[in-house]
Amino acid sequence: MKTPERIDLFEVDSSVDLPHGYYRLAKNSIWGSGYLPQIAILPSIPVHEPDYPYIVDRALFETIQDGDIGMYSGRNKLRVILSRLANHNTLLLTERCDNRCLFCSQPPKTREDSWLLESAEKALLDFNFSGTIGLSGGEPLLYGGSLIKKLKNVLSNCPETNFHILSNGRALKDSSFCRELAGIGHPGRIVLGVPVYGTSSDTHDSCVDSSNAFNETLIGLINAGNAGIPLEIRIIPTKLNHAELSGIIELVGRCISSVVQVSIMNLEPTGWAKRNWESLYLSPSRYQDDLIKAIQMGQSIGVKTVLFNYPLCHLPEDCRSQAVKSISDWKNFYPTECDDCLVKSICGGYFTSTGGERFDPPRRIA
């Protein structure tokens, strides 16, 4: 494992036996009352034993801000899941999903896990963030009406919190559910990120290893766009679909309303993508013409198109200005070869999960 740009997982000793779950992390001492239980994070062993649960960990203390949210595993491991110092914050709402994407970074499970949604609501209320928080899964929209109820509660109590929901969009084929979702936030407070992996069932359904997914997603996107929900369309190029990039952009650009961005995302070597790496991963140099065509399509049709998760040196020169430094800091790293690179500071770098045979080394640019 490579060292990430921000560490989010800590081995800790707590003062008492804490149950597994979400906690509000208080610096120094407990204050106020919230929806989640609190733990104090202390930089050194206190002189007087406090009457509240605490963890002594200097590194953790220095990583967090008062009011960040952590998940305690119950086995002395604490992960900071909402951090005011992080470049992105994402909450996992469920591990259940109705797609089986070959490259899923969070392989789905079937067990009931709605405690994640219950805890997420409390965490979001306590965190009361000014900015956008990602909600992902699994498939968050599988919760249907109960998700809408909880999001509505957070949106009305946290006026500066906005959401980016990552969804396969299939649930939105139900247009009344779609309108209900659109109705809970002022325009722009909820953005949906929906992957489209092909221009037909043939390709898309193979990528998500599920039948009827493409048709439901396409109808869902039409509904969501018409309901005025801003949409980010996500495409992951693989050996199966790289030739369809510009076709997907034209399809969504012409047919779907409210598309604010198309994001082309480099494959992340984690979850199922690892075991399918050989059959999926294509070095960007092998499909650079498709990338160039896709960027041109975005420009000519008037849809903002960006490239996520690509080291700049893997991209053809014409496409580099579309690249975004997008990898979350807790899973982002730069190999030593990058140390002297002049564009390192604006480059997205690599996933920490990139290693061994899945490491596509940096090239020399300029």
Binding site: S200, S201, L218, I222, G247, C255, G302
Partner: protein, 464 residues
């Protein structure tokens, strides 16, 4: 496999363009089109993928969703074309110091002040503008020669400043520049005012039809242009070119005329078949002749672009944008419904309101018919039966000749031209100069867009 509905049109002996109501388009071999219609399963795989991606062809299980996607794409285009974002045109006077042989509006003689707008009407027009649509306001001053009544333009600007919050308005003055002087320049300096001038080509070409009694129109125009560029900057001056018979033989001369003024942004149009322009036998030409010229102009512009110069040409740019961008609705002629009343509200010198510049031109030719939307003094717009028919005629989707045309999803209609030429707003598309002009422009755009990579880059740049 199953076909989705589409139209097609021949590009040349070998190639056809196919398009659908969603605005997807593709150029393919005629043989492949025949195959597509008879044995869709046997067309080459790469073409099949392209046609599937563009909603011409689909696997049967995808048909319902693809059909909905096509309808959704159509809906988006329609909503974009229905947007009410008018340019507000003001005609402070119909009088003009020029007597151009192809004048479209039948200018009024310089000594007849009854062709000027009254201050009262001007005030009411500004109030109407503010009540008709929300800011920001794009205002275009037309004529006659509007600078004959510079005092009214000043007054208009002042009224806008008083009535429109945060100065959310800007002015373009369409003028021959014959009357521009230091007083006007100083006034414009710190205001949101730009100028749009006619530039027909070399001095000889320009002066052949743009006739100024006392001087060379071209010399005055160039002097005025240089003054604006020097004092206010090149971004404050735009150009419009009307191609006359004399200009046809000299596309390089036109480029030189622009270059002399440092103008990189061309806007080139054929003579309008409107109003008096058509009737005066001032040496008209056919559109075939025009396109020989225009294609030559494009190849010269391409050489210039290849040599590293910036070049744009607005007319073809509009056709390229319509082919490519589902939300582009900025050109009144190329949208369905047409821009009549949606892209233009015109306040005429006589206090009447018109839905387009062409409507007031036609009004001059047919004084016995009321083409207006009422007067500025009326409590609300008057949509007469004639205006209703004009709006209806501006929808191309269901019109004979349009409904089967491959360019219909990108094109528009000009019901006023149809009234002028055919006596009614729909017209006979096979005989329509609007149709011939725009179909040829679309064909040229498509030839470049689907041509070599250099051609594609050039046309993309030209349309910027």
């Amino acid at each position: 496999m199953k076909l989705l509905p589409f139209n097609f049109e021949r590009i040349d002996q070998q190639k056809v363009i196919v398009t659908n109501i969603g605005g997807f388009n593709h150029v393919m071999k005629r043989d492949d089109l025949e195959l597509l219609l008879t044995e869709p399963a046997s067309i080459p795989a790469s073409l099949r993928d392209e046609l599937v991606s563009k909603l011409f062809l689909t696997e049967v299980p995808d048909y319902p969703a693809k059909k909905l996607a096509l309808a959704s794409a159509f809906g988006r285009k329609l909503i974009a074309d229905l947007q009410f974002r008018p340019v507000f045109m003001f005609v402070p006077t119909l009088r003009c110091d020029h007597t151009c042989s192809y004048c479209q509006v039948a200018r009024a003689p310089i000594d007849q002040p009854e062709f000027d707008m009254s201050e009262k009407d001007l005030k009411q027009a500004v109030s109407r503008m503010a009540s008709i649509s929300p800011p920001p306001y794009s205002i275009e001053i037309q004529g006659g020669e509007p600078l004959l009544r510079f005092d009214l333009i000043r007054k208009l600007y002042q009224l806008c400043e008083e009535q429109i919050s945060d100065s959310q308005f800007s002015l373009v003055i369409a003028t021959s520049l014959s009357l521009v002087n230091s007083e006007i320049i100083e006034w414009a300096r710190d205001r949101k005012v730009t100028f749009s001038m006619s530039l027909d080509g070399t001095a000889k070409v320009h002066d052949r039809h743009r006739i100024l009694a006392s001087d060379s129109s071209h010399a005055r125009a160039i002097a005025g242009a240089k003054l604006i560029i020097q004092e206010l900057g090149p971004e404050r001056l735009g150009f419009v070119t009307t191609i006359t018979k004399e200009a046809l033989s000299d596309p390089q001369g036109l480029i030189d005329a622009y270059t002399e003024l440092g103008g990189a942004h061309m806007f080139v149009r054929p003579l309008s078949p409107y109003g008096f322009a058509r009737k005066k036998g001032m040496g008209s030409y056919t559109l075939k002749e025009y396109f020989v010229f225009y294609r030559e102009l494009l190849s010269l512009l391409k050489k210039r672009w290849e040599a590293g110069y910036e070049v744009t040409e607005h007319s073809l740019g509009v056709h390229v944008k319509r082919l490519q961008k589902p939300d582009y609705n900025g050109y009144a002629d190329l949208k369905s419904p047409s821009g009549y009343g949606l892209n233009t509200i015109l306040f005429n010198y006589d206090g009447r309101i018109f839905g387009s510049d062409e409507a007031r031109m036609l009004q001059r030719v047919h004084p016995e018919i009321d083409f207006s939307l009422g007067a500025v003094s009326d409590p609300e717009l008057n949509i007469s039966n004639l205006s209703g028919a004009i709006i209806e005629g501006g929808i191309n989707l269901d019109k004979p000749g349009c409904s089967t045309c491959a360019y219909q999803p990108f094109c528009g209609a000009d019901p006023l031209q149809n009234i002028s030429l055919f006596g009614e707003p729909v017209g006979h598309k096979a005989q329509s100069p609007f149709c011939e002009y725009h179909k040829t422009m679309f064909t040229i755009a498509v030839e470049y867009l689907y041509g070599s990579e250099t051609d594609r880059q050039f046309i993309q740049e030209l349309a910027r």
